[in-house]
Point group: C2
């Protein structure tokens, strides 16, 4: 197990409905030293990529992205989520469907902060069905910028988001991939990424996102 | 002028209605080196305070708080904003009125992340009428924790939030206090904090927040 998997086992809480609570160290209270370790690991995994900007989405991606950005020495842009669009200047807008909240959300980035010269690393805390992430990718591509990679803290490997993104050819690096959880025992099963990452990347077919969660 | 005031003059945009846009370096795109300078300055201004936790509020406070937290070597907790309350476990909730959005918002922190043993530094990007900040203070006090201080990036000195908070006896440190702006000329007038901080802290009477903005 790596440092993040160890921390998930120590302080994560498995709840009914495939919910993994990591609010004591990742997305309500944040352990800044852990975030710094994660930033260093993202830097290692994306070594050699000409990243000049990190893109994330409010709210819980922001802390991870800002600490990681120190390792890349680049600015961070965070996309805003809004049910309504209040256009103030030129914006890139992607519509994503929230399965959890039974509504559509808009992911919004001001056009001036993404240009064809940008080489973007997308960072977020969770990846499940991946619709928020698809919205971010759509926005980067609309701007003419390049997605150099995607760094995720925790991927729910039993949901389709990660497979779809890898099938589309992106370098997606999730520091922990949860392949199964048991709320009764609290047990968490992680994917062995050393061994399985190559085979996982070609498994399954590309598929469209039908029922999506804005993670 | 200090480093933040210089940056505001260089890249901030004054708009009609006393709006100061700093979205190119502070609250949409974030200059991480600037955030690091701000963190170092907060550490200097709160030197000797036994801070063991930083509290902020989503979304734009999170980046500033996480980078500052590295200077204090403490975890960050961010309060959530919600119009509806979806209680999941025991929460501290403060109701704050949003003048901008013509509705009431709730500021929410899980009770387990604030205890009477905590010595809290509150950090946020903007202070205007200060209702969001008052909600955060209320939550810290509900928990029995101590507010050791409040660090703000930009205070609108011509609105009442800062005066109210200082009148209540809190150590409020704003890295830049804007006393006036002119949308026609783009001119920004900063308070000279070296000279005026003592007199400003006793000016005016304590007053309740009547029309508040959730900054």
């Amino acid at each position: 197990m790596n440092f993040l998997e160890e921390r998930i086992v120590k302080d994560g809480v498995v709840k009914e409905g495939n919910v993994l609570k990591v609010d004591s160290f990742l997305n309500h209270q944040m352990d800044i030293k852990l975030l710094d370790q994660m930033g260093a690991e993202f830097k290692r995994r994306f070594e050699g990529k000409p990243v000049n900007k990190i893109l994330t989405i409010e709210a819980s991606g922001i802390g991870i992205a800002c600490v990681a950005a120190q390792h890349f020495d680049v600015p961070v842009v965070f996309a805003k989520k809004s049910q309504s669009i209040n256009l103030d200047g030129d914006m890139y807008v992607a519509e994503v469907e929230s399965f959890t909240h039974k509504c559509k959300n808009h992911v919004i980035v001001a056009q001036k902060f993404l240009t064809p010269d940008d080489h973007v690393l997308i960072i977020d805390d969770f990846l499940a069905n991946g619709c928020a992430l698809q919205g971010l990718i759509q926005i980067v591509q609309s701007s003419g910028a390049t997605v150099e990679g995607i760094g995720i803290a925790i991927e729910k490997g039993f949901q389709s988001g990660g497979r779809i993104i890898r099938n589309l050819g992106f370098q997606l690096e999730s520091l922990a991939i949860v392949d199964g959880m048991d709320a009764a025992t609290g047990e968490i099963q992680f994917r062995n990424q050393e061994k399985d990452s190559r085979s996982a990347s070609v498994a399954g077919n590309a598929e469209l996102c039908r029922s999506c969660t804005l993670d």
